[in-house]
Each structure stands twice: as structure tokens, then as C-alpha cells.
């Protein structure tokens, strides 16, 4: 194997050889090599994070029919660096009465819960941090740590608005974990494994978005709710609870929360691409080499991130009780129905030719979507008639 077919292994072997040549023991050399690999991965992620700040500001500007930052550097590319320098030199105000350890730990845990996700993302068949065979459950566990960091931030700020925003955000995140876990079971059922590499490999024939578009849609909705981005960002709305759980954070600590949120959105765009849009498969282009496959995965992650930004800058904010009712009364039953139908069809049609299974799954998803829309139309019709029934006498006095 030369460098271009297996870059990570070749680099690790070379490093181990050099270190043991200097006289280090095997165990220490392997630990040091793995540490260096982790540091390189985290550094690449944080540099991508800086670019994401620039992408976010340009894209939101274009959605709002303006130009975005274009003064600092060519096309405003130096803008995020200017932002970071500004955040670093700002004064770190720590309010009186905060719980110092918890207050300082919360932004660190928030970014920690995003960075550990990159250990299981398969950038190529040969480039993956660690191939856990319970990778999808690891994704949910990292989300749980993120939830913990938000409530730590909200409570330790010694501020009622922060606590209220944190409560709402955590209630929404814990509620939307359920449809996320249920829709994560659908690629598991279709691929037969929970490992990310296995799911990417199994999409060589047909991407899962064609087999189960409803699952992709529900995963996207619950991922946006997990991220705490609009339209589910009630806890961060300036007009509702000032800035939610990060009111009392200034300077680089707020920078960590902000950068962590953008990187989290990019990571979930990546997961959407890997789980439903084929991962590193792109009509055979990935066979050119692992670096091409990694570029394909990052490109799909950027596309997913663009869809998440599109949703954010188009839709309005949803009220907290509407958000929770939407989850418990609509998303959970719908995702359960999709899971049951997908599992049934997968078992019944396991030996049938591929195009029959694909077509029947797609048609079953379309049928479920149509039935849901019909039920919703019927409900909204009864509500509209009820509302119009009340307003009927007033309307009749107007001459036609």
C-alpha cells in the first residue's frame, strides 16, 4: 500500500518507526502517535469552523438580498479572523455569584460534544477515526453530553433568563432525541449494522434517501431541533429571552458556544449526507483514492449545512408549546409508522430483486406521506370550519 491508497496508516507507521528509532517504548510511541492524530483532526475541524463562519455570513447575506462582508480581504475572507481576534481581546466578564467551575466548564463541554463526533465519521473506507460497531448510538450519546453542557451553562449563570432559556432548550432537545433515534434505526435496518462504515458501504447500490425519503426528512427536522437552530431556537431569540443560556458569556467563551453551534450544524449536515445520501459514494468517483472520497464527504456535508442554513433563514420561530406538540403528537407517531413499515418491507422483500424492494419502499413512503397530508387536511378543515362558524354572523351583515 502506498501513500495515496492508505495515507493515515502510512503516516502512523512512519511516525511509529521514527519514535521507536529514537528509543521510545512501543506503548509510549503508539499513545503519542494516536495523540498526534487526534490533535491533527481537531485542528482541521476548528479551521473548517473558521471557514464556516465566513460561509454563514455570506449565505445569510445572499438570502437577505445583500452582499455580506466584502471589505476585509478579498470577498471578506479575512472577516472570521478579525472576528476571532475581536473575541480574544474582549474583556471576559464573569458575573457575581456564578458557580465558577461549572460556568467555565460549560462552553468547553459544548465544543467537546461536537468534536468527539468526528471520531466516527467515515471520510473514506481507509480514513476513519475508529470504526465503532455502535456508531449511531455514539451519535446520540454525544448529543446527550451537549444537552448537559447547556443546562450547566444556564444554571451557573445565576440569571433567571438564562435558566429559562436553558430549560426550554433542554426540554426541546430531549424531546426531539426520540424521533431522531427512531429514524436512525431506519438506516440500521436497511444496512444491517449500526456502524457508520457499514452503513456507508451498504449504500453502494442505492442511496437511502431514495429508499426512505420520509426518514431523511424527519431526521433533518429533529437534527435542526437538536442543534437549537431556527426555527427551533426559542431559547436564543433576542425578543424572547434575550440570548437564552449564553447571556452571561462574553468574549471567547461566547465564541466557543457560537463556533460550536456552527460546527455542530456542519457535523449534522455530514451525518445527513453519510446516512442518507451515500457517504463517500458518488458514481464510482471514490475509487480514485481516499482523499477524493474525503472530499466527497466534506462536499456533501457542506450541501447539508447549506440546507440547514436555508431552513434557518427562511422559516419563522416556533413557540415552545407548538414545538413540543409537533414532536409528541406528529413526529413520534409518524417516525414509528415509517420504521415499522420499513422493517416489514425489508424482511418480506429481502430476497426480491433490488429494484422491487427499492420501488416498494419508495411507494410505501409516498403512501404514508399522502395519508398524513390527508389527515392533516381533514383536521385543519374542521378547525377552519369551527373558527368560521364563530365568525359567521358578522360575515353575513356585510353586503356581498
Amino acid at each position: 500500500m502506498n501513500f495515496w491508497t492508505n495515507p493515515i496508516q502510512m503516516t502512523a507507521d512512519w511516525l511509529m518507526g521514527t519514535l521507536t528509532g529514537w528509543g521510545m517504548t512501543e506503548v509510549l510511541a503508539s499513545i503519542l502517535t494516536q495523540l498526534i492524530g487526534i490533535v491533527i483532526l481537531i485542528s482541521i475541524m476548528l479551521v473548517i469552523d473558521i471557514l464556516l463562519v465566513w460561509i454563514e455570513r455570506k449565505v445569510v447575506a445572499r438570502f437577505q438580498d445583500r452582499l455580506g462582508p466584502n471589505r476585509v480581504g478579498p470577498f471578506g475572507l479575512i472577516q472570521p479572523f478579525a472576528d476571532i481576534i475581536k473575541l480574544f481581546i474582549k474583556e471576559n466578564i464573569t458575573p457575581v455569584g456564578v458557580d465558577k467551575v461549572v460556568y467555565n466548564l460549560a462552553p468547553i463541554l459544548s465544543v467537546f460534544s461536537v468534536l468527539i463526533l468526528w471520531a466516527i465519521i467515515p471520510l473514506a473506507p481507509a480514513i476513519i477515526g475508529v470504526d465503532l460497531n455502535v456508531g449511531l448510538l455514539y451519535l446520540v450519546a454525544a448529543g446527550a453530553i451537549g444537552t448537559l453542557s447547556i443546562i450547566m451553562a444556564g444554571w451557573s449563570s445565576n440569571n433567571k433568563f438564562a435558566l429559562l432559556g436553558a430549560f426550554r432548550q433542554v426540554a426541546a432537545m430531549v424531546s426531539y432525541e426520540i424521533p431522531m433515534v427512531i429514524t436512525l434505526l431506519i438506516p440500521t435496518v436497511l444496512a444491517g449494522t449500526m456502524g457508520m462504515l457499514g452503513i456507508s458501504e451498504a449504500q453502494g447500490g442505492m442511496w437511502y434517501v431514495f429508499l426512505s425519503p420520509l426518514a431523511a426528512l424527519i431526521f433533518l427536522i429533529s437534527a435542526v431541533a437538536e442543534l437549537g437552530r431556527a426555527p427551533f431556537d426559542l431559547s436564543e431569540g433576542e425578543s424572547e429571552v434575550v440570548a437564552g443560556f449564553h447571556i452571561e458569556y462574553s468574549g471567547m467563551k461566547f465564541g466557543w458556544f457560537y463556533a460550536g453551534e456552527l460546527l455542530h450544524a456542519f457535523t449534522f449536515g455530514g451525518f445527513w449526507g453519510i446516512l442518507f445520501f451515500g457517504g463517500y459514494h458518488f458514481f464510482g468517483l471514490e475509487n480514485l483514492g481516499p482523499l477524493v472520497a474525503a472530499a466527497i464527504v466534506l462536499f456533501k456535508a457542506l450541501l447539508g449545512y447549506w440546507v440547514i442554513m436555508w431552513i434557518k433563514y427562511t422559516l419563522m420561530r416556533i413557540r415552545i408549546d407548538h414545538m413540543l406538540a409537533f414532536n409528541w403528537k406528529f413526529l413520534v407517531p409518524l417516525s414509528l409508522v415509517v420504521l415499522i413499515v420499513t422493517a416489514l418491507l425489508n424482511t418480506l422483500l429481502r430476497d426480491a430483486p433490488v429494484w422491487i424492494m427499492g420501488l416498494s419502499m419508495f411507494l410505501s413512503n409516498a403512501l404514508i406521506a399522502w395519508i398524513t397530508v390527508e389527515i392533516l387536511r381533514g383536521r385543519s378543515r374542521t378547525e377552519r370550519e369551527k373558527a368560521e362558524g364563530l365568525a359567521q354572523p358578522v360575515a353575513e351583515t356585510v353586503n356581498h
Binding site: 458557580d99 461549572v102 465503532l132 460497531n133 455502535v134 448510538l137 455514539y138 446520540v140 450519546a141 448529543g143 446527550a144 453530553i145 444537552t147 448537559l148 443546562i151 450547566m152 444554571w155 445565576n158 435558566l163 430549560f167 433542554v170 430531549v174 432525541e177 449500526m194 408549546d321 406538540a325
Partner: protein, 172 residues
């Protein structure tokens, strides 16, 4: 491997001691999170990777957050008042030391006390075998179903007990 076990054991026991002796209850709940995380690392060292991840999801992601919410909703004021321990805490200390001594003594009299672990058979798929054991009719499908009924009963019971009729019906 031994060093990792010793570090994890020290973290678990130190966090547990801080849980039971912290006066600030939110700190106690956060120390519980640290102890639970140490237990998850322990499961990973015992080749039970699925257990480790499920521990993080269920205990840290749901139960610890439930504890933090409950602590915040049951305080008379924002600060913590009063001693954390009973007046008779020394009796509890004696009882727990006796329990530990008794358990250690009983276990050390067992013949298999100091055995080392055999290697797992190669290609052993723990997650697949666990799935088979949970749903196969001559394995453990009945306890699995009874556990899910228990969870539904607990869900209904908890919602009913904690339901506040004052502000439970102000939407539609």
C-alpha cells in the same frame, strides 16, 4: 490497561464520595455525571461497548438531566441552607463500612475470586448476540417485554403524579 483501570477506579470512587458529601445538590448531580462516565469507561474496558454507549445515553443523557431538573424545581431559595447530612450520619458510616467489609470478606472466600479473563472468541459479535438473546423465544424475550410494560407503567405513573392541574391545560 492496569493503569487505565486504576485511574478509572479512582475517578469513580472520588466522584461517588463527592456525590454523597456535597452540600450543593447541583454539584452532587454533576459529580454523579462524572461517576457514571467512569462506569461507562469501565464497561468499554470489559469489552461491553454497547453497554458503555447505552450507559451514556440513558444515565447521563436522561437520568442525570432529570436529577438536575428535579433539584432546580424543589428548592425554597436559590442558595442551599442547612447541613447536608443527618445528625446520625456516623451510624450510617459504620453501617456502610461494615457492608463493604462483609461483601469483601464473602467474595474473597469464593473460589473464583482472583481469576483472570479468558480471551473472547475471535469474530464474536457482542451486539448481534445481545440482540439475538433479547428477542429469541428460548432466550430472554419475556423479561424484555415485561421491562417495556414496566417502562410504560412508569411513564404513565410519573406523568400522572407530577401533573399540575393548574397549568396543565392552557393550550387548546
Amino acid at each position: 490497561m492496569t493503569i487505565l483501570f486504576l485511574i478509572t477506579a479512582v475517578v469513580i470512587l472520588a466522584s461517588a464520595v463527592m456525590v454523597v458529601s456535597s452540600r450543593n445538590l447541583v454539584h452532587a448531580a454533576l459529580w454523579l455525571v462524572s461517576a457514571l462516565f467512569g462506569v461507562a469507561v469501565l464497561y468499554a474496558m470489559l469489552n461491553a461497548g454497547f453497554m458503555a454507549v447505552v450507559q451514556v445515553v440513558i444515565y447521563i443523557g436522561a437520568i442525570a438531566i432529570l436529577f438536575i431538573f428535579a433539584v432546580m424545581l424543589t428548592r425554597r431559595e436559590m442558595r442551599d441552607t442547612g447541613p447536608g447530612l443527618n445528625p446520625n450520619w456516623w451510624v450510617s458510616a459504620v453501617v456502610s463500612l461494615l457492608t463493604f467489609g462483609g461483601l469483601a470478606y464473602l467474595l474473597s472466600n469464593w473460589s473464583g475470586f482472583s481469576q483472570t479473563s479468558a480471551d473472547l472468541p475471535s469474530g464474536f459479535d457482542a451486539v448481534g448476540a445481545l440482540g439475538d438473546a433479547l428477542i429469541s423465544p428460548d432466550a430472554y424475550v419475556l423479561p424484555f417485554e415485561v421491562a417495556s410494560i414496566l417502562l410504560v407503567a412508569a411513564l404513565v405513573g410519573a406523568v400522572y403524579i407530577a401533573f399540575n392541574p393548574q397549568n396543565g391545560d392552557n393550550h387548546e
